[in-house]
Structures are given as C-alpha cells and as structure tokens.
C-alpha cells in the first residue's frame, strides 16, 4: 500500500505505518508537507509523508489514493491546524471550513462518490 497515518495521536505525534514493508513508527506531523510545484509554490492537492524507518516516501493525493480514509483525514487535519496553501483556509478558521475545503478538493479530483469521512 503506502506510508500512511494509522493514528492521529496528537498535534505533535502521529503513528505511521509502511504496511508493505511491515514496519512503522512515530512522526512529527509538521514533517508532512505539501508537494512543491516547479515554481516553488505548494500544491494543495498532494502531501508527502516519509517512513521513519526506511525513508520511503508516499505522495498522497487529496482524493485518498491508496488509503482514502486515512489520507482524507490527514488533509483535513492539516488544513484545520495549518490552513491550506491556496489561502482559502487559514490557521484559526473554524474546523468545518477546513473540512469543507478538503471535501471540495476531493470531489474535484475523484468525483463526489469518493468522500469517505463522516
């Protein structure tokens, strides 16, 4: 599968699984970042997460890719805590705004049937 968040433990600690390799560990959520476009700007449709054991990396699309529930939650949590690089959501906005923005991105990428969060 991929490197993905198995448990959003706290604001400073996430549990990560790299299931295909059969290992995992703890990461700082701040290390999970949006990918960069060639011009250096952040792309709000993709985030990169690294395995703390073997340094493999997974680039997840906002639609969910290999792990829709975990990945969509990761984008939502990130938007709620740090805002979105597009500026539609900023740090401190209500949580519902972050979630609705991510749901919009999911719908745009994979269609309205893709959203799996409640």
């Amino acid at each position: 599968m991929s490197v993905y968040v198995a448990d959003f433990t706290s604001d400073t600690e996430w549990q990560v699984l790299h299931d295909e390799a059969g290992h995992g560990g703890t990461i700082d959520p701040a290390t999970v970042k949006h990918t960069l476009n060639i011009d250096g700007t952040e792309n709000h449709n993709f985030m990169v997460i690294a395995c703390p054991v073997c340094d493999s990396v997974s680039t997840h699309p906002v639609g969910g890719g290999a792990q829709p529930a975990s990945v969509q939650q990761m984008f939502v949590t990130h938007a709620q805590t740090s805002g979105c690089p597009c500026g539609q959501v900023v740090e401190g906005d209500p949580d519902a705004l972050g979630e609705s923005h991510i749901r919009l991105l999911v719908n745009r990428m994979d269609g309205p049937g893709r959203w799996v969060l409640g």
């Binding site: 991929s2 993709f46 340094d55 990396v57 699309p61 890719g65 290999a66 990428m109």
Partner: protein, 408 residues
C-alpha cells in the same frame, strides 16, 4: 361425455347412435371420445407408433391447440413444440427465452471480481500477516482479536482446475469468533456499477486434513434493504469443494459490495481459489481470464517498477536547476482514482549525468499526479544542468522501487 354405444346385429339404429359418430368425427363439443390410454406390457414395442410412409416429408404427427395453432408437430424436420424446434442434436429456442435461473453453472459469465483466481501477486508472494494488508492483488486481510492469519501464494500444482496459483491461508483461531477473513470490496460510487443487480458468489476451497466447518464465504452490500448472506461451512473432503452463497439483490443506493472468505477453526493450510462473483441468481463456474486481461484488471489499482543498480526507471526527465529534475511517469493502466505514489528512499535513485554517470538523489516525490500519469521530482545535491535532459535510474545499492496505488 358418454362412450359410443355399440349396435348389435338386428338392433334398430337410432339417429342418436349415428349422430354420435358423425358428431365425434366433426369435433362437435361433447361428442368426442378420448382415445383410451393404451395399456401394454411389452419391453420392445411402443404403445403408440405412427408412421407416414411418404418418404419426402414423413409427416407423422400434428397436434393443434384449440385455436388451431401448433402444439406438437413431428416430421422430417424434427419435432416442433410450437416455438421450440428439436432437430437431431440441435435445439433451437426462441430468442431470449432462457432466463438466468435456467442456466447451468457451466455457462460462463463475466466475473465481477479482480484477480478472482488469485493468480496475480504484485506485492510479492507473502506471507502476509498484518491486519488490513493486501496479499494477492485486491484481496485484503481482516484479522480479528487474537486470531493469527498468514497468507501466501501457493505453489504451482495447487491441484485446482483452471488455476496456476492459489492463496494458502494458515489460520489459528483465537478470540476472533469466526470473524477473521480475506475479503475484496467493490466500490460502487467510484468504480463498479452493480446497483440494482442480483449477484451470487462462489469460491473453491481445499482444507488440509479434510477438516469440516473451517471456512465459509460471504456476500453482502450496503444500502437500503441490504442483504448479508453466507454459504454453508465446508464439509469434510479430501478434495477441492465449491462454496456458494445465496444470491443478493444490491440496493439502488448501495455504495459497496463485499465478498469474503471467513475462518472459524484452526487449520494449517486452507487453499483458496477461483472466486467468482456473477450477475444473476445462478452461480457460474470460474473461467480463467486470459493472463493479459487478468493483469490489466490488477494494474487498474496497483503497479510498480523495480530496478537494479543503473537500470533505467523513467526517461524523458528535464533538470530545472542544478539540484532538481522533473519527469513524467506514464502509468501502464489508467487507475480507478488518482493514485498514491510511493518511492524508495531518495538515495536509491539517481539522475543520469551528462557523462553517463549517476547523480545520486537526496529526495524524491510525486507531484501533479493524474489517474493516467504522474510527475516525479528528484532532488540531488548538485550536478544537474538546468534545461538538460536526463533519466531517472536506480542507484547503488540498487533496491529502488516506485509504486502507484489507487484503492477506490
């Protein structure tokens, strides 16, 4: 209807006696007398034989309905049952007259599953032991409580028909209470379109030690009025046996259909093979896909590139600074959704230098991925020339891999 009345020699013949005969011949209502059932006790002769000696057409029998239309006709053309003709070894039926319920299991029908034969294992041959992990392509482990489950690819000659490989499960029952399983889920919102369809699921198993009550299979969906049905448990058998679920009707608002193989008793080797989910109320025998089609279905969800040291992985890259290059990775098959890209550590990759050497990477990531292609960015410490072309190659120690995975 009264029988004919015999007239003895010397009796006066009354009109009613003659009219009864005439009326019977004319088919007057109430006047006919049914031909009596012919009673014989003869092992070699037929009770009734009709032969037309005219050789060309041999029109032997013609039976009509009350409206004059054909009920049964037997002649040189065969037997015609009104709308069904049997001619020699050939049976002709009206178009669209055989319903699904009348089909035998040897009538092949499209399998809705991916990798139903457990032939494709792109992630490796196992063993797989982790809750939620994929084993064979599209098949996921569900391990409950203190149960343990280990699934591997079973070697060639696994003994089943129409099969090269099977899944071999080694299961130990703990507190799972029969809820541990291997399952495949079809997502109806983004992938399969089975809403409103009737489905039936079958699968073949071989249980070591001929043990009974080890495994059974499940078919279910969600949605309004959804059904969740199981096959009977396997019986004691030294050979493969086919488990079949009852059919379910998938609600129009269903979002997923799931098939599963459940394990209820400890057993060292449960071979699982030839899973078949078909539309209709009758199960169908598993028919193996052509391997190209089988693999293509799996590639819709998962593909990977593995390379040894210096082997090319993605060509057509371009450096856009001294420390970064981008390239397009065209995926083999369009994915069900936009995939996750997973790469080995950045130092497992390199850019091909102008002199043909390696410029080892420091990090790698995907970007701007679509369902049919991915952009990949490789960062290096230095050595690239902006505007130059380059290729992505595997770098020493050479365990580079790239995976695109889309699970709808």
């Amino acid at each position: 209807m009264s029988p004919f009345v015999r007239v003895n020699p010397g009796d006066l013949i009354q009109a009613q006696n003659l009219n009864q005969v005439v009326g019977s011949l004319n088919g007057t209502s109430g006047q006919g007398v049914a031909i009596a059932q012919t009673s014989v006790n003869d092992a070699s002769n037929y009770a009734l034989s009709v032969q037309n000696l005219e050789a060309t057409n041999s029109r032997a029998l013609n039976v009509l309905k009350s409206d004059g239309t054909l009920l049964i006709r037997a002649d040189v053309n065969g037997v015609n049952l009104g709308n069904t003709t049997i001619t020699g070894p050939t049976l002709s039926l009206p178009a669209a007259s055989i319903t699904n319920a009348e089909l035998g299991p040897d009538v092949a029908r499209a399998n809705q599953l991916t990798n139903g034969g457990f032939e494709i294992w792109q992630r490796g041959n196992g063993p797989y032991t982790t809750q939620g992990a994929y084993c064979a392509d599209r098949w996921i482990l569900q391990i409950m409580g203190t149960d343990t489950l280990s699934v591997s690819r079973s070697g060639a000659g696994n003994g089943d028909v129409g099969s090269i490989w099977a899944a071999a499960a080694n299961f130990t029952l703990g507190s799972g209470a029969g809820q541990s399983a291997i399952y495949q889920q079809l997502k109806l919102t983004t992938d399969n379109a089975l809403q409103g369809k009737t489905l039936v699921f079958s699968l073949r198993v071989l249980v070591s030690g001929s043990a009974a009550n080890v495994t059974r299979i499940e078919l279910k969906s969600d949605g309004t009025g959804a059904q969740d049905v199981f096959s009977p448990f396997n019986i004691a058998s030294a050979g493969y046996q086919t488990l079949v679920t009852p059919a379910i009707n998938v609600p129009g608002n269903a979002t997923a259909v799931t098939v599963a193989v459940y394990f209820a008793a400890t057993n060292s080797t449960i071979l699982i093979d030839n899973a078949n989910l078909v539309v209709g109320s009758q199960p169908a025998n598993y028919v193996p896909l052509h391997p190209a089609d089988d693999l293509a279905r799996c590639l819709r969800y998962y593909e990977r590139i593995d390379a040894a040291n210096n082997q090319a992985m993605v060509s057509g890259g371009q450096a856009y600074s001294v420390s970064a290059m981008t390239m397009n990775w065209p995926l083999k098959v369009i994915k069900a959704v936009v995939p996750t890209l997973t790469f080995a550590a950045g130092n497992q990759f390199a850019a091909l230098s102008a002199a043909g050497g390696q410029i080892v990477g420091t990090s790698i990531a995907g970007a701007n991925t679509g369902s049919d292609r991915a952009s990949v960015t490789l960062n290096v410490a230095s050595g690239l020339v902006a505007g130059n072309a380059s290729n992505l190659i595997a770098a020493n120690p050479g365990t580079a891999y790239m995976i695109a995975e889309a699970n709808p």
